[in-house]
Amino acid sequence: MTVRTRRAVFLLAAAVLAAVLAWAFGGLPHFGASRPSSGLTLNQLAVPQRHITDVVTAVNFDYRGFDTLGEEFIFFAAVLGTALILRPKLAERPGHVADYATGRAVPPTSDAVRVIGLGLTPPTVVFGLYVIAHGHLTPGGGFQGGVVVATAVLLIYLAGEFEDLHGLYTEVALERAEAIGAAGYVGVGLLGLAAGGVFLQNVLPLGQTGSVFSAGVVPLINLSVGLEITAGLVLLLTNFLHQVIVLRPGARSAPTALPPRV
């Protein structure tokens, strides 16, 4: 199809589709109308059953914990995929002429940016860890907290310290951390199978409602998800940064970059 025919045909189809969807959505209850659902049932049950105050977390990591296991592995696969797709091929070793010679040098970072970037990193990490650790009490958890901690890496990058940053960890270490996070979730599930007889069964004491050490295995799962997301996102960002900085001639040094994957 040419772009023009395609647009015309699409607009027709989309108009029909929108009309049918609107017709069907009219069969939904009115926005905000009260009606029973299993979610509302869990609002009643979660606090007494699980000593957990954030019911969304209870659904994510307990009642429907198996879904989240699957979601975590979607993340896992996507991060691995980015590493696979952005892997340096043999022809692209740093400094190899096959890459682009635009001659564009990385602009020097001003000291102000450097100080602010580095100064913000520790509080960001602490905040992220807090969000992970309190996932079962207040809004937040491994998914959001993991993203926050990973963002701290961005701050170091903004401070212009990618090579320094790159000295802190290696891709292999990140992959291992990600693997531990992913295996941790499966491990909690198998622990339930071994000790409680059912996969993802809670086997820890429920504790005092509102305490950090409550809600059974939920904080444990939160922690492993947090590790997975942090390591995964840092790995993902590193792969992108690696493409931008290391594979671009004119970077400040000939860095000790990754060997091609074998």
Binding site: T57, Y100, T102, Q144, V147, T151, V244
Partner: protein
């Protein structure tokens, strides 16, 4: 429906339109970031703070960052 709900819903609808209508990827990254914030506010209004937190850290920060990184890579390449 309250005026707040109506307003933010209309803003989200318009925001999505702007994201698609912005054809230049660099500008689009900025608009997408704004759209992420709008979505986050909408989710707060809909009493979903967990999702809002998720959307703001991801939609307004992480995702636009990756778009910018991709652009940096591409703009550095041959034209």
């Amino acid at each position: 429906m309250s005026a707040l709900e109506i307003t933010i819903l209309l803003f989200v609808g318009a925001g999505g339109t702007c994201v698609v209508a912005t054809r230049d990827p660099l500008r689009q990254a900025m608009v997408a970031s704004l759209f992420g914030i709008l979505l986050g506010i909408l989710f707060f209004v809909l009493q979903a703070p967990d999702v809002a937190l998720s959307e703001i850290v991801v939609g307004a920060v992480a995702l636009p960052l990756m778009i910018l990184l991709s652009l940096a890579k591409i703009r550095g390449g041959p034209r």
